[in-house]
């Protein structure tokens, strides 16, 4: 039998790795991939708590998260393509149109 706390610890570790990747990486696509890692860590936590409480609603939420992630990936990648077409680069340092 696997303690549920192991799953939670793994979820926390994956989320932290996702955050670290988001800040370490400097191109839009890899940063976007890091966001996907964070989403999956959250999914793992949702399923762990669903198992702990014995509630199926937690699994339905994960189903919706995956759907929203698919929609987000489609729009986000279209925006990345647009940025690349206009700036000829996907490095975050060179997308400085708004002078941030």
């Amino acid at each position: 039998m696997i303690p549920l706390s192991w799953f939670l610890a793994l979820s926390a570790a994956l989320f932290v790795l996702g955050v670290a990747a988001f800040f370490v990486k400097r191109d839009l696509i890899t940063m976007f991939l890091a966001v996907e890692v964070m989403l999956n860590a959250a999914n793992l936590a949702f399923l762990t708590f669903a198992k702990k409480q014995g509630l199926l609603a937690g699994q339905v939420i994960v189903f919706f998260i995956i759907t929203v992630a698919a929609a987000e990936a489609a729009v986000g990648l279209a925006i990345i393509l647009l940025v690349f077409r206009q700036r000829k680069s996907i490095k975050t340092d060179e997308v400085d149109l708004m002078k941030g």
Binding site: P3, A12, V16, A21, R26, T30, A50, A57, A71, I90
Partner: protein, 165 residues
């Protein structure tokens, strides 16, 4: 047996995410992530969610990552390689990650010391999930279809080449 399976899958997912962070090439990063998501699918199966596990592998490791790889292949990597990371940024990111990890450990402490185990329980049978999805959650489900429609139209409008005229 189950514990060994968990350890293998957990090590695979964490290792694959580390590989994604350390890889310099976006295409390899995406492939590492396919491995991580497949291992996570196995973990979802261990958590009594066989349907979500299948969705994870088919939609996430399959469809979404293929979308990423398509876009990576459309962008010439020679002009889009990540620049050198600055030492200061790397240092600050690592500090941030350590602080975040400590914060999570503190907030999850009570759960982390819990004794509940993930035994087989038949919680997430596809039949029960389907009844819930098309019963209590029918409105969110329908709104999801609207969301996907909007995302589809939005992606086409954004990505299509505009005529210069």
């Amino acid at each position: 047996m189950a514990a060994a399976l968990f350890l293998i899958l957990a090590a695979t997912s964490v290792g694959a995410v580390l590989g994604m962070i350390l890889s310099r090439n976006q295409a390899y990063s995406a492939l590492w992530l396919v491995l991580a998501f497949a291992a996570l699918g196995g973990l979802f199966g261990l958590l009594d969610a066989p349907f979500i596990a299948a969705v994870q592998i088919i939609i996430y490791a399959g469809a979404i990552m293929v979308l990423f790889i398509f876009v990576i292949m459309m962008i010439p990597l020679s002009t889009a390689l990540p620049p050198e990371r600055r030492k200061a940024t790397l240092f600050l990111s690592i500090i941030l990650a350590v602080v975040l990890a400590a914060e999570m450990a503190v907030s999850l402490w009570a759960m982390l010391r819990g004794r509940e185990t993930a035994g087989p329980g038949g919680l997430g049978s596809t039949k029960a999930l389907g009844r819930l999805l098309f019963g209590d959650f029918i409105y969110p489900f329908e709104i999801t279809s609207l969301l996907i429609m909007a995302a589809l139209v939005g992606a086409i409008v954004l990505a299509k080449k505009r005529d210069k005229a």
